[in-house]
């Protein structure tokens, strides 16, 4: 078995595996987000976003449209349409493997319902691409109390994924390959006003997955005894439970600016531990402009069953060589500028903003090696690192 051909034909991509989370995650991020304030419905608004990601040989871009409208006194409905146009020639695609392209479409529909000081929210999301479908539903409750200084939130979400595999010959997917994965998320949040100028937010989230959790295209490598290495399919446990705890602080500066900080810790049953820290600054300039900058630090230690190079075939019960499960450090820099227009209204618009946000991310892996370079003894190849650029250009209107 020629290892490179196998990898090439399979068009293995780190990104592919990662995208299996996207269905539930996107539903989570939009509709499942714990409500902003518990005593008022979210504002009516519409956003049109163009997003672009480029890094490590992977390019993904597309639009995201959101519209939200209040109906009656106590209900607010929203819809989101999101597309990823993917073009990948990432590190897992080694030799002549063709760059592959893919398109993912995601639709979300949801609503918020206000009853006295309690806000309920519900959302449904569907994500489709040629070899992966995900459906998810999320429910949340948020309640303001103690003079509206404290907001307590609870959330629950469930996702159902169907994983298929591209056919090795011809087009379409392999009819004999269809796997399932179920995911559940439980969230608890506490938001507290500390003073006239400070807010604090504590969040805990438990995520539990069950089913086929790996990537049908990815392989791990092992020493073949004759000085080289061969590939075999990755094998993951069929359950994963993780805990995450985050603390965010927002502070208002007297000359009208805000500074924010975040610390978040993560651990799971796969042995991955991660720590995230972020600091940022928001600075309005006059009435028309707002600028922001942020720095983010991320460090992760590898999954128990991860290795860049296993000593032999079937070395362990579980085998992974996905760089996202490895040990690494990532630094991120963010910059943003917003221009506020129509501040006094214009037709049916109450106000609007035009925004540009740019993020730069650098990933430095400590136990994942770059196999694209030739002439190294297996296990001594240079460690892999890459940087990515993320762009968000969007217009928002409130009405």
């Amino acid at each position: 078995m020629a290892p490179r051909e196998e990898v090439a034909v399979a068009a293995a991509a780190t990104d592919k595996r990662a995208r299996f989370h996207w269905g539930l995650l996107a539903a989570g991020a939009l509709g499942f987000c714990l409500p902003l304030t518990a005593a008022v419905l979210p504002e009516d608004r519409a956003d049109a976003l163009y997003h672009a990601y480029s890094g490590g040989g992977l390019e993904v871009n597309g639009p995201s449209y959101l519209a939200r409208k209040q109906l009656g006194k106590y209900t607010s409905l929203f819809g989101n349409y999101y597309v990823d146009a993917i073009s990948s020639a990432s590190i897992d695609v080694v030799t002549t493997a063709s760059q592959y392209t893919e398109r993912r479409e995601e639709k979300t529909l949801g609503g918020d319902f206000l009853y006295e000081k309690t806000l309920f929210n519900l959302s449904f999301t569907n994500s489709e691409e040629s070899d992966f479908s995900a459906r998810s539903a999320a429910f949340g409750i948020s309640h303001s109390m103690f003079g509206d200084l404290t907001t307590v939130s609870l959330g629950y979400g469930q996702g159902w994924d169907t994983i298929r595999r591209r056919a090795t010959t011809g087009s379409g997917t392999d009819p004999d390959f269809e796997k399932k994965a179920d995911r559940q998320r439980y969230r608890l949040g506490l938001s507290q006003v500390l003073s006239k100028n400070a807010l604090i937010n504590l969040n805990y989230e438990l995520v539990t997955d069950e089913g086929y959790l790996n990537n049908p295209y990815r392989s791990v490598r092992f020493l073949n005894g004759s000085g080289g290495y061969d590939y075999q399919s990755e094998v993951y446990p069929n359950t994963r439970t993780s805990h995450a705890l985050g603390l965010k602080v927002l502070y208002y500066l007297p000359y009208r600016a805000a500074v924010h900080g975040e610390v978040r810790g993560f651990m799971d049953t796969w042995g991955i531990n991660a720590l995230i820290g972020e600091v940022g600054y928001v600075h309005p300039l006059g009435k028309d402009w707002t600028f922001e900058a942020s720095y983010r630090y991320y460090t992760q230690s590898r999954a128990d069953f991860y290795s860049d190079l296993f000593p032999r075939q079937d070395a362990q019960n579980y085998l992974a060589r996905d760089k996202e499960l490895s040990t690494y450090v990532s630094h991120g820099l963010g910059l943003g500028a917003s221009y506020h227009f129509a501040q006094r209204g214009w037709g049916f618009i109450d106000k609007g903003s035009l925004n540009l946000k740019y993020n730069y991310m650098q990933f430095n892996y400590q136990d994942f090696r770059d196999l694209r370079v030739e002439g190294y003894t297996p296990g001594t190849e240079p460690l892999y690192s890459f940087s990515a650029h993320v762009l968000r250009l969007f217009i928002s209107i409130w009405y």
Partner: protein, 167 residues
Amino acid sequence: MKHLQRTLPALVLLLGLFAATTALALEVGSTAPDFTLKSRSGENIKLSELRGEVVMVNFWASWCAPCRQEMPLLEELHDRYADLGFTLLGVNVEEDSNAALDLLKEIPVTFPILFDSRNDVSRLYNVVAMPTTVILDRDGAVRYVHKGYLPGYEDEYRKQIKELIRE
């Protein structure tokens, strides 16, 4: 089932919190606390001097979205009932009055705007929500208190003002 039995008490307690409400300190039926505040036109306005009229005191701020929604509706009420023995006082609670004056340029109103920049009156009236609307009868007694504003409240205001005017 065992898990449910153990989790249920916690869930019930948590849900019980949602039912809890805060008590109101401004007693309905009691005489409204007197105050004197400077108005937009420069003159001082004393509440007790308005006895004989039905008075509505509305506490608002420019940064409060429901307050902004409510303003034009209050202007309508003032327009309609001012000649029938009704007075509306808009009490702005901001330390810096500039933002309030800017908003009034966008949403012009004809009823008196008073500035409670030290928040003495807000404390006196135990304002626990923004906006807060208090309706006093001709004898200066507190008759109705509305916390917050949701579309539809203005119909309540109208009913209550008409009732108090007829007394």
